[in-house]
């Protein structure tokens, strides 16, 4: 099946069993000291990308946020600490490109009562580490996040760490996978309606 013939905004052909398997494998045992990229400039490039993502989400600049992502991307929020296997279990979110666009569409309808009014957020990103993989044009990064979210009844905090898989395409690093690991991913969450 020639996946490049299909527009991932319209159809979901790239989410295959091989895709899932490769994803689960890549996100297992990747945060290893022997794979760490120590170069400060490289790490800074990566950190700037993550901080830009954070700012765009805080600004609700969803079109620009999507532009940071490769066309066949995944936004994955596991419910199992450590990731689990999304083929076998429901997860908080497993969004392919089309579902990411679904999510944004819904938030823009004006009828998403869980975001009426909209949350105000400030995201802090830190502890950024960069790791190499078997392929030069593919890197993994780990970072911690703290989202301060204001809703009418007060400010609350969503904490966790992210694993991003970055791919280099035409001189740009794009996000292919973002795995958002909330520290309370397996607990009952109140109004998880923002894009984390």
């Amino acid at each position: 099946m020639n996946t490049t013939a299909h527009d991932p905004s319209l159809t979901s052909y790239y989410v295959t069993d091989a895709f899932y398997r490769e994803l689960v494998e890549s996100f297992t045992d990747w945060q290893r000291d022997d794979l760490a990229i120590e170069d400060v400039a490289e790490r800074d490039r990566c950190r700037l990308l993550l901080e830009r993502e954070a700012r765009l989400l805080d600004q609700l600049a969803f079109d620009q946020w999507l532009n940071l992502y490769a066309p066949e991307c995944v936004h994955w929020v596991p419910t199992t600490p450590g990731g689990g296997d999304p083929r076998r279990e429901v997860v908080i979110a497993f969004d392919d490109r089309r579902r990411m666009e679904d999510r944004i569409f819904r938030l823009r309808t004006g009828y998403a009562w869980s975001q009426a009014p909209k949350s105000r957020t400030v995201r802090m990103i830190s502890n950024v580490e960069l790791f190499s993989t078997a392929r030069k044009a593919v890197r993994m990064t780990r970072s911690n996040f703290l989202i301060s979210e204001f809703r009418p009844d007060g400010v609350r905090f969503l904490s966790g760490w992210c694993g991003h898989r970055l791919i280099e395409q035409n001189g740009r690093w794009l996000i292919q996978v973002r795995q958002v690991n909330l520290i309370d991913c397996d607990q009952n969450l109140r109004n998880p309606s923002i894009i984390l």
């Binding site: 908080i92 979110a93 497993f94």
Partner: protein
């Protein structure tokens, strides 16, 4: 001594004198107090979440002997387990000695539980096994009172485990009554009539648990509360018939209906809206990650038979509600857990199918798709309902605005049908199910249930 304690407890929790229940719960409306009064909530912990069969968990969560999960009965922490001989038990997660919880893990396998505080140990039958330095005690610990307390009645219907503290509760099958029929159909559409629980979308809201049960059969709210979901899932469709689109237009003239079957249980049947053919359900499922790939893959392997396989990844269009805390809807097992008068956990367990030989080896593909379709409603639908429930709890702070209306369909000629067994049938947006279940709630709140714990394994 127990009689004195019981009488003190009754005075604290027995509020049948505090309220005129017929004032609080009327034919067409209920008083805001039933959602906001902490005294009523405390009484519910015994009169409802103690006195009737309450859903505790699914057998697939404790598949092997010695497996356990920790759950709740009302606010009581419970260890739901399969003991070493295979018997399902619901133990109070509470050391007999000084009251601390015995088990601090959410799930696992254990032949015995040892208390972290003073080392008392219990077999998973609940029987006290040993205490450290027993010479320091005058008693010989042979009395049953030192065993872990457990629910006297635990029973299972086709994998759904219920428990009660009520020694006089009717058999589970009698309690479930007519709701077993839709439960059977919900199960039997899956191969072998079985489903396996596979993780959950876990939510909570700042509101009373009955706001969720009021909503569980509500057809009136769909096009308003879930407007953003309906627009989202139809945005790419050739025909805007995805999801619960059948609530648009004139829903009450359609073939779908609600049915109250007794004891607080009720059922919304939306299957008449769906084309009765293989693939009819899949045809109205909104797009999900992997939809086109898996559909093509199954069609390549199975030809026309792919349609009935894809239907297993579609959301079964029913809402089966078992009072007080269980809903089967789509492919979900949804559980309501009261946390306080104005806080409730709502857990949407996903389910997967098991290949019984009839799936041609396609279980993995069906499940990979079924996981994604199940994530849709909790992410894009439920969150808006929960926001509306929270805002009800806020609105109910208006003390002088006393009434919550439930009179849709009441006294409209020919609208609500009641048969000789008390089974009530009405159109999809009707509130008859609310009126019926809250009558049962009122009856239970005024009853004097005989709640006991069992000490003998």
């Amino acid at each position: 001594m127990l009689e004195k304690i019981k009488s003190v407890l009754n005075r604290l929790t027995d509020i049948s004198d505090l309220y005129d229940w017929d004032e609080l719960v009327q034919e067409d409306r209920v008083h805001r107090l039933i959602y906001t009064d902490p005294a009523i909530f405390v009484a519910e912990l015994t009169h409802i979440f103690g006195a009737v069969w309450v859903y505790l968990g699914h057998e697939s969560q404790i598949p092997n002997n010695d497996d356990f999960i920790t759950v709740r009965l009302g606010l009581r922490p419970i260890i739901l387990l399969r003991d070493s001989q295979g018997k399902i038990r619901a133990l109070f997660n509470r050391c007999t000695h000084r009251g601390t919880t015995l088990c601090r893990k959410e799930k696992g396998s254990a032949r015995m539980f040892t208390c972290p505080y003073h080392g008392w140990s219990y077999l998973n039958t609940g029987k006290l096994r040993a205490v450290p330095w027993p010479d320091g005690y005058a008693c010989d610990f042979k009395e049953a009172k030192f065993n872990v307390a457990q629910l006297p009645r635990v029973d299972s219907y086709r994998g759904f485990i219920f428990g009660t503290l009520n020694a006089d509760a009717p058999p589970l099958l009698d309690y479930l009554g007519g709701i077993t029929e839709p439960i059977d159909e919900w199960l039997d559409r899956n191969p072998g009539g079985k489903v396996v629980v596979c993780e959950a979308n876990r939510l909570k809201f700042k509101g009373n648990w009955k706001l969720a049960y009021d909503n569980s059969g509500d057809g009136y709210h769909v096009v308003f509360s879930h407007r953003s979901l309906l627009e989202m899932e139809n945005r790419l469709a050739d025909e805007a018939n995805k999801g619960m689109s059948y609530y648009k237009g004139s829903p009450d003239s359609k073939a779908m209906y609600m049915r109250y079957t007794g004891n607080g249980h009720h059922f919304k049947d939306k299957r008449p809206n769906i084309q009765k053919r293989a693939g009819g359900l899949w045809a109205v499922e909104g797009p999900a990650p992997g939809s086109e790939h898996y559909a093509d893959e199954l069609r390549r392997r199975f030809g026309a038979k792919a349609d009935e396989l894809l239907d297993l990844a579609g959301s079964e269009p029913v809402n089966i509600n078992v009072f007080p805390n269980l809903s089967l809807l789509g492919n979900h097992i949804q559980v309501f857990e009261p946390v306080s008068v104005d806080e409730t956990n709502v857990t949407w367990y996903g389910t997967s199918v098991v290949d019984d030989g009839s799936l041609g080896g396609a279980a993995d593909e069906i499940n990979a798709l079924r996981m994604r379709t199940q994530e849709q409603f909790p992410n894009f639908g439920e969150v808006d309902d929960l926001a509306n429930f929270e805002e009800i709890q806020r609105g109910l702070a208006c003390l002088e605005d006393e009434w919550i209306y439930m009179h849709r369909g009441l006294e409209v000629p020919g609208r609500v049908q009641t048969d000789e067994n008390g089974v009530v049938t009405a159109p999809a947006t009707d509130e008859a199910f609310m009126r019926e279940y809250i009558k049962e709630w009122k009856r239970l709140m005024q009853a004097q249930p005989n709640l006991v714990v069992q000490r003998e394994p």
